[in-house]
Amino acid sequence: MDRKCLRCDRTDCTCIGDSPVKGKWQLFRCNTCSFVWRNTEESYLEPYVTKLSEERIRSIIWSYDPTLK
């Protein structure tokens, strides 16, 4: 099943881990906005998450990056 990111609604997500005790949870990461969540959070977490638009994602910088000129 395709997973949808709770933050940016993209479906490009990676399962980064299954629970060491089998069958308890899976951890996912969105490859677009880097949000990380557990499938056991999906039933309640979304109202707490601030949605991100594509434009907003593109605008995120590290303002202290010394490599920026």
Binding site: T40, T50, D65
Partner: protein, 469 residues
């Protein structure tokens, strides 16, 4: 009794009835964060809240301990002192131990922290109970650690406490700014044309090392030698398994890896110490080259959010003492100073005032210290008869000795903490100083005096405390 290491600290907390253990299965979210919030609330309400140990976080095989430093009682125990020591006495003892610096670490072989060594495909950070502490966080976070880097030019090591968002089995981000020592190392490596810097992350540490890691000691000081001064004995250190860094030998877990200069990924938001979320940003990431740990390791976490939370108790003494020592070089009349972590935005100073205007001298000395000049936006100055750690007494001084017409000083266009929610990311703004000291001649001095306790009050307090039990 001074704790020998993290596990000994847990035993001491058990013996002192400061630790509650849970054997039942507990969901990682939202329950672990909720438990942290609840025990900090209990601590703030005056009844006391315990440190927490979850043997069975759902889905994990490794137990989780958290909120270990989340009270002044447990900070006292971490320093080998009586848990009933008043905070002002803790502050004075911390100041005395500062003078013991340095107690240099000793190198050891076959350390406990390398009983198990994992490299390559064996590396899996998701085996550790790393959880989302607050619902608005961008993911699960490691919040209590000692992140070790070294100056690429001099080789001098540094340890600091920074949040880290889990990104993958072998990737975790490390947010920092140039003002941090790790930021200075990163910047220097970039100037020298290096492609990467090595990092080691120590978890489940000697409790004095956790305090030292978030202490604003001078930049040329070593946190491990400072931890030795705090605990009155040297720390044992050993060479990392895949990095050219010395790591604490008795820590539960060491994550080793490298950060590529110029490569960043999205991180956050994260519920930070002022009680507000810090915004999304791009930050460097640690690419993990090895995870080493003790047999049957214990993972340590830290709940952070609306103050007070563990970071406040963990760093209050160090923040306060560092400002006191630096400011006293210019203003020896400075008596005590209170700068809790959540209040790096607010400081309270007590002073022995002899003449009118002397409070401005103290103000200037405090504002000149690196820690206060960077983060503090409100400074309250009280007389020496007011304990700056007792907020009831501070409010009394404000109510009675502060004159709004003459007692306010503004400093505009000053450096500010970028996590200050009033001006997020701006890092400059206006500071304010409130003078809540009594006037001295030639200022008009009120004719009325303070109501002093009747004779025999102390004796009667002793009698009442005994009978009340």
């Amino acid at each position: 009794m001074m704790p020998k290491d993290f596990r000994d600290f847990l035993s001491i907390l058990d013996a002192q009835k400061e630790l509650v253990r849970f054997s039942e299965e507990i969901p990682p979210e939202p329950d672990i964060g909720a438990m942290g919030r609840a025990t900090c609330d209990m601590e703030m309400s005056g009844g006391g809240g315990p440190a927490l140990f979850c043997e069975n976080v759902s889905g994990y095989k490794i137990p989780l301990a958290f909120c270990l430093h989340a009270s002044n009682r447990r900070v006292a125990l971490a320093l080998g002192m009586d848990k009933k020591t008043p905070v002002l006495e803790l502050f004075r003892e911390f100041n005395r131990r500062w003078d013991k610096y340095p107690v240099q670490p000793v190198a050891v072989d076959n350390p406990p922290c390398q009983e198990v060594i994992k490299k390559g495909p064996q590396i899996d950070l998701t085996e550790f109970p790393i959880v989302r502490w607050n619902t608005g966080d961008g993911g699960p976070y490691v919040c209590k650690n000692a992140i070790i880097t070294k100056d690429p030019e001099t080789g001098q090591q540094n340890a600091g406490l920074y949040r880290m968002q889990l990104k993958d089995k072998a990737r975790i981000c490390v947010p920092f700014i140039p003002a941090h020592d790790i930021g200075r190392h990163y910047q220097k490596a970039q100037t020298m044309g290096l492609k990467e810097i090595e990092i080691a992350v120590a978890l489940g540490n000697d409790p004095a090392l956790n305090i030292a890691s978030c202490s604003p000691i001078p930049p040329d000081w070593d946190e491990f030698a400072f931890a030795g001064a705090l605990r009155g004995a040297p720390l044992a250190m050993t060479r990392g398994a895949t990095v050219d860094l010395m790591v604490p030998a008795t820590s539960e877990i060491i994550i080793e890896g490298k950060v590529t200069i110029g490569k960043t990924h999205i991180e956050g938001p994260f519920g930070e110490f002022p009680g507000y979320y810090s915004d999304l940003r791009r930050t460097p990431e640690l690419e993990v080259t090895a995870v080493t740990h003790r047999k049957n390791p214990i993972f340590e976490g830290l709940y952070i959010g609306l103050p007070l939370t563990e970071c406040d108790w963990l760093s209050q003494l160090a923040n306060s003492v560092s400002v006191l020592r630096q400011a006293r070089q210019l203003a020896p009349e400075l008596e005590s100073f209170n700068l809790a972590s959540s209040w790096v935005l607010v400081g309270i100073a007590s002073m022995r005032k002899r003449y009118a205007g002397q409070d401005k001298k103290v103000m200037s000395a405090i504002l000149a210290t690196p820690h206060a000049s960077y983060g503090m936006k409100l400074l309250i100055i009280v007389d020496h008869d007011v304990d700056p750690f007792n907020l009831d007494q501070v409010m009394w001084a404000l109510a009675t000795r502060f004159n709004p017409a003459t007692g306010v000083t503004f400093i505009n266009e000053a450096t500010m903490n970028p996590l200050d929610p009033i001006a997020p990311g701006k890092a400059y703004g206006t500071k304010m100083v409130l003078n809540a000291t009594e006037p001295k001649p030639p200022q008009p001095v009120p004719a009325i005096g303070i109501v002093k306790p009747p004779p025999e009050t102390e004796r009667w307090r002793g009698i009442l405390e005994k009978r009340w039990k």
